[in-house]
Amino acid sequence: MHGIPRKAPTQEERDGSSIKAAKLRDLQSQLLHFHYNKIYTKEAIEISAQLLESNPEHYTGWNYRKLAVQHLLDRHQENEVDSELPQSVLDEELRLVENALKRNFKAYGAWHHRKWVLSKGHSSPDRELRLLGKLQKLDSRNFHAWNYRRFITELKKIPDEDELQYTTDMIYDNFSNYSAWHNRSMLLSKLLEKRAKGYDKTENVLSEEFEFVRNALFTDPDDQSGWFYHLWLLGQTLKREPLVISSSPPHGSNLSLSIDNPDCQPSFSKIYHQSKERTFPLILYFSEAVVGVSSSTVTVEFDYDGGDGLIWHPLSANKLGFSQAWLAYIKYPHDSLESCHVKVTVAQFPGIISSSGMPCSQSCFISFTASVCSNNQEHSKVQTTHKISWNEENFKAHSTHPEDANLLASLCKLNITKENMPTTPMLCIETISNEIACSRELLSSSNCKIGKLILARLLVAHNTLMTYGCMDSITEAHYEEILALYHDLMKMDHAHIGYYEDEYSLVVMKQLTSNTESLLKLCGNYEELSLPSISSYTCVRLKGLSLSRVSCMEHLLWVQMLDLSHNKLRSIEGLEALQLLSCLKLSKNRFSSFTALEPLKMLKSLQVLDVSYNEIGAHSIDTRRYMCSSPLNSTTGSEWQLKRFAEEDADMKHFWDAYLLFKDLNLVQLDIVGNAVVDERLKAFLVKLMSALKWFDGESCH
């Protein structure tokens, strides 16, 4: 089946093949006959051996063999004629397996039979390890052999340290042995976790391992065997406790709340929020995805009675409950209220844990003031909504005003006091700096792909360690060098350009949003000049930046209007954190399905959405259908009562992905022109589905 050259067989070969076929067919049909009739005579068993030695993949043969052995052992127990019998019977099986493995050392049936034989007792670990030694010499990548080795070491309780040494020996013998590196990673991981003797100082162990893998990388930079081990080591080095890195409302801000007050204008000096339900969203954003945020791990104190027992929700599509952004709604009173203080404490006791198992042990305090504008009945009128045109002239950049710069800075910054600032273990930074120096050395002697990729990753890691999400905290942030490295990689390894573009986008987003100056350049106010406007929006424009991914939402939690058009986006994972987002432009990107827009379902304030000129419906393969709730996997629950809908509405079934996306969004304006999926039937379905919709593809409806 594999590795057989393609050529028409000669007459001689055909004849030979016919004879072999006839012989084998004969053995196989005899085996099935013996098996069906439970015949376990010496001759029958011998036939089965012949079969299995020539065709070790005939699984029924191995089943027959087990029944025959069982039969012999049971009969022996009854008669007790020859006390050596069990041993010899089992030894015969082991010999058969070895012969079968000689024919094909990857035959699952043979390996399993050997395990079965061992379970009967009378086995010797040395014999097994000797067999393994022989096979691993023939093929050091035979995963069956490695699996069996793990089976034996566990059965015979061989210590992890000894096996670790074995991998060291294998790697010294030939570093191009991914199977050995893999086993090493598992063993080392176990030793570190249980803090075995000699493995309790993690930083030292990692440092030594870096040196060990570096030899492999330097010897042949094109061999992948050490690449993934290196990445794992980097991950272990960077493992730290999660922290709160930003919030909405931001620390030190003034929040102005009302139900309906047309006179309140949003600006950077005051955050304005209105809500008919008299609630405002409080968001905590962590350095990495965490679980365990609840009213027992986070306390919120107000001057007024805001209600106890806040319910915290993770803002991500991750069904395991891990999320970087967490949301709770806080109620505010009817009566007007002057400057009331709100204090949020993220507590110290265990409860909040990251996905890598690290607990959040630093306390963090956030406080801001809130004032409530009275619900003036005379002024309340139905707020007229207008069509957002996204025209250029409606956008007013903030770049020039210094006051705005200060206010924006305060908006984005989370004031962590010196006591709360966690310290990065110095050894960690030293290790990374050392690795950076080594990879520069590698690159100077060999302009290789892995050298550039590792250096880029190390520089990103260095940035992360030095910042902890604070803005403007480091002067030299390596961004230009990192971006240049990814540019080189896109050229020298063109096949993987998609991967490098994604990594590049993440760095660009970090660069733009982590610095007040660069963020200011992207911000402004949007006001519809052609219409007598009631409200304007705080707006961020990230258009035309070749972004294929978005991230770093921690500094954008206050954004109401976002323009991500003219990029290369295929997904918007991470956007769920922008709870104040009201208008979103995603036109001229690469969204290829409605399922890719699933994160939007969490944006309760979203009213204006533009996904025009994308690729929805242009592809026969949907790459996101298993990552979202759908009728195809068992995640639908109450969202999709299949039987009911299938009967009621053929459109709902046909457009199930559009239905699941749009049914919970309260859109007022939607643009989807320029997508292959759009036809009259879909348009009619969507207009019917979204009762609040006023504008569809520029035309008014309802």
């Binding site: 076929a21 069906y36 029924t60 990445l231 709730s629 996997n633 068992s634």
Partner: protein, 300 residues
């Protein structure tokens, strides 16, 4: 080329006497699945006699409910899934029992071999039969997650090395159960995309030769976690096309090697995932045409 491939598959079905067919007699049911699914993707399932195939399959069923690889062979999960998949192609499904363990793993048959391949098979089979209630889904997911490695991939058992075939099984099983959140998509995505070698083909593990069958195992995994844009799709298409036997039809593991129905299926399925024109779309998790899958899940 489509006509040639169809001719090749039909001829395989007829050939039962040469050595290659005899040595693989015990997995003929898998062969039926590979051949028939390929025909469906090429739009030519009607080239076979449906009744003949179905009656042969039913003869492979054991009293336990499981299916053997051929008539008279012992039942095993490996062949049971193929039986269900072929019956799904023909829109004829039946009910059966599956052996499950406390730790969430699955035996392949009564002889107790555990392997994440069997987790995928059990989960896929039951999902197609819409009887997932027969197993403890949480435990099944837990076992699969225990097989996750530090490179983001999955092996056949806890501690086993990542291998594209096992990765497909684990990712596919998690996808069917709506549990892809357990997968670190960026980490696994990079491991998978680095399977593409200079020739454009994909290998199954680091430092191994490319092989057309990995155009399925690696590719479908990449698609399920939405990282397929991390490989060069055009180069892969060219590699698969290069593996065709342009005279006799069929596809081989590598250019100029002997063809077989196994690689013909994976080559055509891979091309379908790469949106090659003229082919029916195939579902990456169930490994059946999308219209067959939609019919099962989107209708009463």
């Amino acid at each position: 080329m489509v006509e040639k491939h169809i001719k090749y598959i039909i001829s395989i079905e007829k050939k039962k006497d040469d050595f290659a067919s005899v040595v693989m007699e015990h997995l003929r049911l898998n062969g039926a699945y590979w051949g028939l699914t390929t025909l469906d993707v090429l739009g030519k399932l009607d080239a076979v006699d449906q009744d003949e195939v179905v009656s042969w399959i039913m003869q492979c069923q054991d009293q336990s409910g499981g299916f053997g690889g051929n008539i008279g062979h012992d039942p095993h999960l490996l062949y049971t899934l193929s039986a269900i998949q072929v019956l799904a192609l023909f829109d004829k499904i039946d009910v059966l029992d599956i052996e499950k363990n406390e730790d969430g793993s699955f035996f392949g048959d009564i002889w107790g071999e555990t392997d994440t391949r069997f987790s995928y098979i059990a989960i896929c089979s039951l999902a197609l039969l819409q009887r997932l209630d027969k197993i403890n889904v949480e435990k099944a997911v837990e076992y699969i997650v225990n097989c996750k490695n530090l490179d983001g991939g999955f092996g056949c058992a806890p501690g086993a090395e990542s291998h594209a075939g096992q990765i497909f099984c684990c990712v596919g099983a998690l996808a069917i159960l709506g549990s892809l959140d357990h997968v670190d998509k960026d980490l696994l995505g990079w491991w998978l995309c680095e399977r593409q070698v200079k020739s454009g083909g994909l290998n199954g593990r680091p430092e191994k030769l490319p092989d057309v069958c990995y155009s399925w195992w690696v590719l479908s995994s990449l698609i399920m976690i939405d990282r397929v844009h991390w490989i060069d799709k055009k180069k892969l298409v060219d590699f698969i096309l290069d593996c065709q036997d342009k005279e006799k039809g069929g596809i081989s593991d590598r250019p100029d090697d002997a063809v077989d129905v196994f690689h013909t299926y994976f080559g055509v399925a891979g091309l379908s995932l790469l949106e090659y024109p003229g082919l029916k779309a195939i579902d990456p998790a169930y490994a059946l045409p999308v219209d067959v899958v939609n019919k099962i899940f989107l209708t009463t």
